[in-house]
């Protein structure tokens, strides 16, 4: 093992590979921060350039793109309320309110530190626990995945704001949107309305661009773009310090572990990890009322979880040959192109390469930290641009972003339609968060549920007879009902004290 680690250190510290990591993280940061340009797209575009490189260098470059792209989704989420990646959706809930309060730099700083820590913890997990965690992945079949994603949906109740029924209606619309497209099991089109474009379903990024960015632009125009009330005292903070996240260390560690566990399970990903971590952080927080209104802890939870997923996703990919998400699938393709077959034997036959991949995650996060420190000061200046200039810039970015998803104006139309829906939701005080959660998790919930029922010949008992699924369902019940029980218990206790 140590021979391989020393070999990997030698490879990663070569100046060519360090340059590749720097270039990769820069590319990832640009793609991740622009709505519509996804990490998957960035990794896909970079992949052909790795064909002529040695396998180690190619993987190093892809790692840089992947880590920075995952982190950079938080930048646009915080500054313009449009998550660059689906896994940054929870970051927008607290990041944008902080920007409106003039605390964007603090939010960006916490997001950067939490992302780096989450990524580093995930990389360490990859180095030390890969074979052990791979076994966890094998224990997750469709029933367990259904139980996990269903557990992820429980957060809807806590992000619904004052009206639970409005939150549920918004979530149900998210689920309904997720059903559009070809049915995952029997292949029949659903709600395509004879439009070929809708066979592929409604893309998440188009919906995010619509309900977050375009709706906000409409909202600002409706208010005649009244100059944003950015508290000047809050904007003074212009330095990044580790002390900013000291109060959130425990949240970051906990969320990173959630990210690793979720990341190991194929077919899940950063979104569900960040929702679960966010919900757990809110539950455990001393200031839960700040969540959704500008909580640094919420940003720390979401960002450390989605970056905690990055290296963990590669655990089943490298050890079992099962890609955890689309980016991992591209990594798998890259390995195959270089003549390497993922699986348990890869650690034996290509131990040096394996540890190179693991160490490159550590290096990518370190490089990302310094690049982030440099870039954030420039990103933060975006909020000081007058609305009359900033809004058209955001609008064009969003329209181009939507166009580039499928090189088609259909995506732009979808974004505009959801812009109108999002604006109506703002005006009628419907929360957007439940809709986003349901949209992201809806497809996974339905697919895993139906796969489970196929496995059990239609018997729902499969969900309670498998220990891990039962554990998640028990947690769902606990997390859903414990606040009510606690409230009742406190009232009962208070009455007892009075008497």
């Amino acid at each position: 093992m140590f021979d391989n680690i020393f070999f990997a250190i030698g490879i990663v510290s070569m100046w060519q590979n360090i340059m590749l990591i720097i270039i990769g993280t820069a590319i990832g940061m640009v793609f991740g921060s622009l709505p519509g340009l996804t990490v998957t797209l960035a990794v896909t575009l970079v992949l052909p350039f790795t064909f002529d490189m040695p396998p180690e260098s190619g993987i190093v470059l892809l790692t840089g793109v992947y880590c920075a792209g995952t982190y950079a989704g938080s930048i646009s989420a915080i500054l313009i309320n449009t998550p660059g990646t689906p896994s940054s959706a929870a970051t927008a809930w607290d990041g944008y309110p902080l920007t409106q309060k003039g605390r964007s730099f603090e939010a960006l700083s916490v997001a950067l530190h939490a992302s780096v820590l989450g990524g580093l913890i995930s990389a360490i997990a990859l180095i030390f626990f890969a074979p052990m965690l791979a076994k966890t992945a094998l224990a997750f079949g469709p029933p367990e995945r259904f139980a996990l994603t269903f557990f992820g949906l429980t957060i809807i109740a806590r992000v619904s704001g004052q009206s639970l029924s409005k939150g549920f209606v918004a979530a149900l619309f998210g689920l309904l949107i997720a059903t559009v497209g070809v049915d995952p099991l029997v292949g029949v089109p659903r709600f395509s309305f004879n439009t070929f474009y809708l066979y592929g379903g409604i893309g998440m990024i188009e919906v995010f661009i619509g309900i977050f960015a375009i709706a906000e632009i409409f909202n600002q125009i409706g208010k005649r773009a009244t100059p944003r009330k950015i508290a000047k005292d809050g904007s003074k903070k212009q330095s990044i310090r580790w002390s900013d996240i000291v109060p959130h260390y425990w949240t970051i560690v906990k969320s990173s572990v959630i990210g690793i566990v979720v990341g190991v399970i194929p077919g899940t990903g950063g979104s569900i990890a960040s929702f679960i971590a966010y919900d757990e952080a809110k539950r455990a927080s001393k200031e839960p009322e700040l969540f959704g209104n500008g909580s640094l802890e919420g940003i720390a939870a979401s960002e450390s979880a989605n970056n905690g997923v990055t290296a963990a996703t590669l655990i089943p990919t490298l050890t079992l040959g099962i890609p955890g998400n689309t980016v991992a699938a591209i990594f798998l393709g890259a390995l195959l192109i270089h003549g390497l077959t993922p699986g348990p034997q890869l650690f034996v036959e290509q131990g040096g390469l394996m540890y190179t991949i693991m160490l490159s995650f550590i290096l990518a996060n370190i490089v990302m930290y310094f690049q982030g420190r440099f870039a954030l000061k420039w990103f933060d200046r975006i909020v000081n641009i007058p609305d009359a200039i900033l809004l058209p810039i955001i609008l064009i970015m969003c329209l181009i972003g939507a166009y580039t998803i499928s090189n088609s104006l259909n995506s732009v139309m979808i974004a505009l339609i959801f812009g109108c829906v999002g604006y109506a939701m703002i005006k009628f005080e419907y929360p957007t968060a439940p809709m986003v959660i349901a949209l992201i998790l809806g497809g996974m919930v339905e697919e895993s549920m139906r796969q489970s029922l196929i496995l059990s010949d239609g018997s729902a008992m499969i969900f309670v007879t498998r220990p891990i699924a039962l554990l998640f369902f028990t947690m769902t019940v606990f997390v859903t009902f414990s606040p009510f029980v606690l409230k009742f218990w406190k009232q009962h206790k208070a009455r007892g004290v009075k008497h």
């Binding site: 340009l37 575009l45 009206s163 029924s165 409005k166 549920f168 209606v169 149900l172 619309f173 689920l175 309904l176 059903t179 049915d183 099991l185 029997v186 029949v188 089109p189 659903r190 709600f191 395509s192 375009i214 632009i217 409409f218 600002q220 125009i221 409706g222 208010k223 005649r224 773009a225 007058p386 609305d387 009359a388 200039i389 809004l391 058209p392 810039i393 609008l395 064009i396 181009i400 166009y403 580039t404 090189n407 104006l409 732009v412 139309m413 505009l416 812009g419 109108c420 604006y423 109506a424 005006k427 009628f428 419907y430 339905e446 549920m449 139906r450 029922l453 196929i454 010949d457 239609g458």
Partner: protein
């Protein structure tokens, strides 16, 4: 009676979601082919949409009833909140038209001209900007962005069928 009507007025969004839910419920037979319950799972491609559309209708109805009931129960003193700030829906509609026109015109006049027109109209709608700013921003977001996307990201935006 006035409580009932004001309750219904407040329920307009819920009535809309109820109608949308009903529309999707009614469109399921025509929009999702029925291949039965895929043999094994006991759940067909229509099951989830039926459950979701039904739940939307139930929750919307619940919201309507709750709003009407709240108005019937409320006293006039309960509804003395400050009026919300006035929204200029006309401007929002104009912005919508401008974006929709960009989408329609893009294939014909190309990205550069369509964007100049869109940015100019959006900045005029927002107001509080000079003509110099309008010219500079619209030019900066058209030609340079188009070239940058093509050269760096290999993303080619429509150049316009009228100029081909």
């Amino acid at each position: 009676m006035s409580s009932l009507s004001s309750g219904l007025k407040d329920s307009i969004p819920s009535i809309v979601t109820l109608l949308v839910g009903a529309f999707f419920m009614a469109s399921i037979p025509s929009q999702i082919a029925d291949f039965g319950t895929d043999g094994l799972s006991g759940v067909s491609a229509r099951t989830m949409p039926y459950i979701i559309a039904g739940a939307i209708m139930v929750f919307s109805l619940f919201s309507i009833v709750a709003a009407v009931w709240a108005h019937i129960q409320s006293t006039p003193a309960d509804t003395t909140d400050d009026p919300p700030p006035k929204t200029r829906y006309g401007l929002v509609f104009l912005a919508f038209i401008a974006i929709a026109s960009w989408i329609i015109l893009l294939p014909f006049i190309g990205y550069n001209i369509a964007t100049i027109l869109l940015i100019t109209s959006i900045m005029l709608i927002i107001g509080r900007c000079t003509w110099v700013q309008i010219v500079l921003v619209s030019l900066a977001l058209s030609f340079p962005v188009n070239s940058l996307l093509g050269v760096v990201l290999k993303v080619y935006l429509p150049s316009g069928s009228l100029f081909d």
